[in-house]
Amino acid sequence: MKKANNSEQKNSLATKWLFTKNRSCSCTMPGVWRAVSFCDGCAVIFHSPLGCAHVATLMDLGAQYRMIGDHQNENLDAVPMVSSNLQEKDSIFGGVEKLRGCITHVMQTWQPQCLIIATSCVAGVIGDDVEQEAEDAEKQYHIPVLCVPYGGFLGGEYSDGYFQTVRLIMERFIKPQPKVPGRVLLFGDQMGPCGQYAREVKRLLRYFDLDVKWQFPGYVPFAEWGELSTASLLIPLNYAGQTQGGLEKTAAEWTEWFDTPSIRDVYPVGWQNTCAWLRKIAEFVGDKAKGETVIQLEEKRLHDYVESILPVTKNKKAVLGIGRGPRWYNPAETLNTMRRMQMEIAAVILYDKLMAEEKETVIAAVEEWKKASQLTDIPIIADGNYNNCLEQADVLLTTDELPGNPVRQFFIPMVPLAGTDGELIVMRTIYRLLCRYGNKGGIAYA
């Protein structure tokens, strides 16, 4: 009895990410905010109760901690974000006056060149005519006022807020124009210009004399929006496992509207994908041989590093634990890494938080990898009986922390690590975890 309890505790997940449902679990307003947070010259108004702005700032704080955790010195200053502070009274009598007051305040205090208004659930429910207010403000202050009237959670998801803002900017400020050779526009966020993804992409592009000038949407000053289409190449920052497609779709539109080629459907996450991506870049610059040279150079870095850690990693029993749905996580890359480090893949376990159809998809993906890698013996444990297997494992690579479990755990990052450096970071973290003295458990983050 006692034992059973114990094992229950061992298997309980610290669910940090409630990414299991995919409808109506996020708010559009932080998406709007994220799309222009660091665009100098803009100001953002949440037509909302104060709490909504608080939530958005908390998200920023989290992102900043992650940056600091990554030893990055993020010196970006966010643009003003102001809530119209809707209160009970306003929900009864309508909040447009509050909004008007808020706009006046923002205009007087910061003199922004562009105003972006996002609307909350409260504004949505009581039916405030925010678009009309935006139009009026535009006339009064002679600046563009963009309005994303999705009503908080009501009209869509975080990504809808984000991409609708992007679309409004594209429609209004960006026109096709002659391209500047070698000028690249990164598209998407992935922790911003200081994030590992953007840094690595920039590093790899330099091999090809491609120069990243901007990262759109969140990090381009308003005054430069009009120049964005001078970029001769658009590179969306995405993750192959992601099927949500908003970024890809918008990137496709960018290409179509502004006649800018873009590298889509392959992303430099995981070594194989990085190679495929590098080949696409080489193709774009018309120098395939260069692509192969770069791949060789980068592969050598990987190879040299693996050589140096093999004495520790080789034949170590490693388990992969998956509790993140296929929408957010693709197991193939982690499995490839395990194999590169010559670890023994003892099992793949699926946590219970996955829904039935998610489990099916994940199992199919793992099976496919097993076949392609000719490692068909690896067991997949989907029934929760993985205690024994964890007791014997040297390390667990996991999408979810198992807080009570003594096994050493490597937390598979939510924001994918890109390129060769990404691969190196993952391997180094696992290596160091394995180097820990004794059989101490604990969790390591890349």
Binding site: E88, F93, G127
Partner: protein, 272 residues
């Protein structure tokens, strides 16, 4: 204390009937409070002799919540009747339903309504959202009267209100207390209303004829009871007030499907 509410299709005569019933009850020696739950704030006009200028939500709008006092929002009308108007936003903005919720809660919090024998809630016609169901849902009122004429759409609204009452009756003490007919002179109106009430598992507690005296009194900003206390119409309201005061026949309604309601109207609604 009796806690009653009048519901019914917009414009059917809720406020007029409520004011006359309040006046009658008051003249019968009861302490009465009438609370208008409608942003038009015209429910107590005939009792106050003027349109109420200081509604609960007017105060909420212009003052800090904490500074509002009971005497700011509670008024005294004809024969000492306590009159309250919830008030609400201008047409087309904000959320009147939310307003009703806030207003009723504030009245509670301030214990603004003095101890009375009868509280009568007069609620906006079509129960358009949760806010207007507040008086039933939160049991501010327990005995619900539905006012209807013999017109199909009035019956339709009444039937819908019965659905709401049924839902809330299952978890609390709110009950349908009866149908009040307010005539529009449709064919076989009284019989139709009686049959309709029976179908709803209730009864027709009164059939108020259409009479110009109501309009004449209204133009003088008075109830019939004040304007023409000896009139036949006044007598009808007095009888209705007595019935309401003594009524113990409360029921959980059994609302109909629309087709059934239509058939009922067809059956009775032929030319005489």
């Amino acid at each position: 204390m009796k806690k009653i509410a009048f519901y019914g299709k917009g414009g059917i005569g809720k406020s007029t009937t409520a004011a006359n019933v309040s006046a009658a009850l008051s003249l019968q020696g009861k302490k009465v409070c009438q609370i208008g739950c409608d942003p038009k704030n015209d429910s107590t006009r005939l009792l106050l002799g003027h349109i109420c200028k200081e509604t609960v939500l007017d105060k909420v709008r212009t003052c800090e919540m904490d500074s509002i006092k009971a005497e700011d929002i509670v008024h005294t009308g004809f024969n000492g009747i306590t009159c309250v108007e919830a008030g609400g936003p201008e047409p087309g903005v904000g959320c009147a339903g939310r307003g009703i919720i806030v207003a009723l809660q504030l009245l509670d919090k301030l214990k603004a309504v003095p101890p009375v024998d009868v509280t009568l809630y007069d609620v906006l016609g079509d129960v358009v959202c949760g806010g207007f169901a507040m008086p039933i849902r939160e049991e501010y009122a327990e005995e619900i009267y539905i006012i209807s004429s013999g017109e199909l759409m009035s019956l339709y609204a009444a039937n819908n209100i019965a659905k709401g009452i049924k839902r809330f009756a299952s978890r609390g003490s709110v009950r349908l207390a009866g149908i009040i007919g307010n005539s529009r002179n449709t064919p076989n109106e009284k019989e139709l209303l009686e049959a309709f009430a029976r179908k709803l598992n209730s009864r027709l507690v009164a059939f108020v004829p259409r009479d110009q005296i109501v309009n004449v009194a209204e133009n003088q900003r008075q109830t019939v009871l004040q304007f023409a206390p000896e009139s036949r119409q006044a007598e009808i309201y007095i009888k209705l007030a007595e019935t309401i005061w003594n009524n113990t026949e409360l029921s959980v309604p059994t609302p109909m499907e629309f087709e059934e309601l239509e058939a009922l109207a067809t059956e009775y609604g032929k030319e005489p």
